[in-house]
Assembly symmetry: C2
Homo-oligomer: 199 residues x 2
């Protein structure tokens, strides 16, 4: 009975399973929602129900969408020749916040992983290869995470596209903006040194 | 448009306002909920709506409750003579998890704060004093946080009860179980030293 009613305990347990939250932070969140007299919890519940009801996957790129095609796939102003491959919708959002890329996306939904039995078919890589041909893509930008899994997946995709005329590129590696050398790992410093350019 | 539809953006903004969460963790939470195909978001939304609908404040102690009196105030097996005063429902929950206290509670809902214009009336301290008399309380345990605000509030309450026959106690201060002296602050070490006892 420590954490109030059964409903409250179930709610805390569910919130605690969300990424980045644990039992303690879940208790804080639920208590804060109960305490705010403005009915914020009911409002949040309604909003979640709405998003849950309406959200689906874009059939073309895998982005979160409210319709068959996501706003990016449906946007005629975006460049058709450039396809940016990302692991995750969160990565797509991060790139969109940067506003530098104006082409199309393809969300893999993960990386190749022998341990988790995620192979090319599970990631829909054949569908990606088909897209590159069907949509006349000139450049595939592999914007995968700079992790072992991300890079393995990038190499697999590059290999699969080697017989096609498409140009395959990857994000540059180097010192992040505002980065201090003293705080960077050796791998990043070495990559930045290898990729040095004339001022 | 970076974060999907308007509803998704609003949901992320609301989740980001919860304690311990920020824009980045809110994006992760919302994406995780959208991605889980099991309808977890709809389930969570329904549960939140239920808790929001049913939760209220116990009219006697200020605990979260589904009825006029919370389960602790309504429990005839709890000791009537001991009243444990806490700042917050989260503190009540923490004490209940310990299972050491079997008396009644009183939740202040905060601490005295001249800056935030929270005086004794805002905290319902007159109501607490009245309860002590009405319910024939023999001991008031001030289980407030060991912060300046918590201790100021504890001293104020002790002062207000000085003319009554009730015994006012506070939680012991000292080395936490499993604590290493090297990692403790001077204040805790000094308090533990002053309160030392014979083995």
């Amino acid at each position: 009975m420590a954490e109030g009613s059964d409903a409250i305990q179930t709610l805390i347990a569910q919130v605690a399973r969300l990424p980045g939250l644990g039992p303690r932070s879940a208790r804080r969140v639920v208590l804060a929602l109960i305490r705010r007299r403005t009915g914020q919890m009911a409002q949040l519940a309604a909003l979640m129900a709405e998003v849950a009801e309406r959200s689906r996957e874009c059939t073309r790129c895998g982005n979160v969408s409210e319709s068959e095609l996501c706003p990016i796939c449906a946007d005629p102003a975006r460049a058709n020749g450039e396809l940016c491959v990302v692991e995750d919708v969160a990565d797509l959002w991060a790139l969109e916040r940067g506003r530098a890329f104006r082409g199309r996306y393809h969300v893999l939904g993960g990386t190749l992983s022998a341990l988790d039995e995620i192979g090319p078919d599970e990631l829909g890589i054949p569908r990606l290869i088909a897209r590159v041909g069907d949509e006349g893509i000139a450049e595939v930008i592999l914007a995968l995470n700079a992790t072992v899994e991300g890079q393995t997946t990038a190499h697999y995709i590059a290999e699969a596209l080697v017989s096609t005329p498409v140009a395959v590129t990857v994000l540059a590696q180097g010192v992040p903006i505002g980065g201090e050398l003293d705080y960077l790992d050796d791998g990043t410093i070495n990559a930045a040194l290898r990729a040095r350019r004339r001022l």
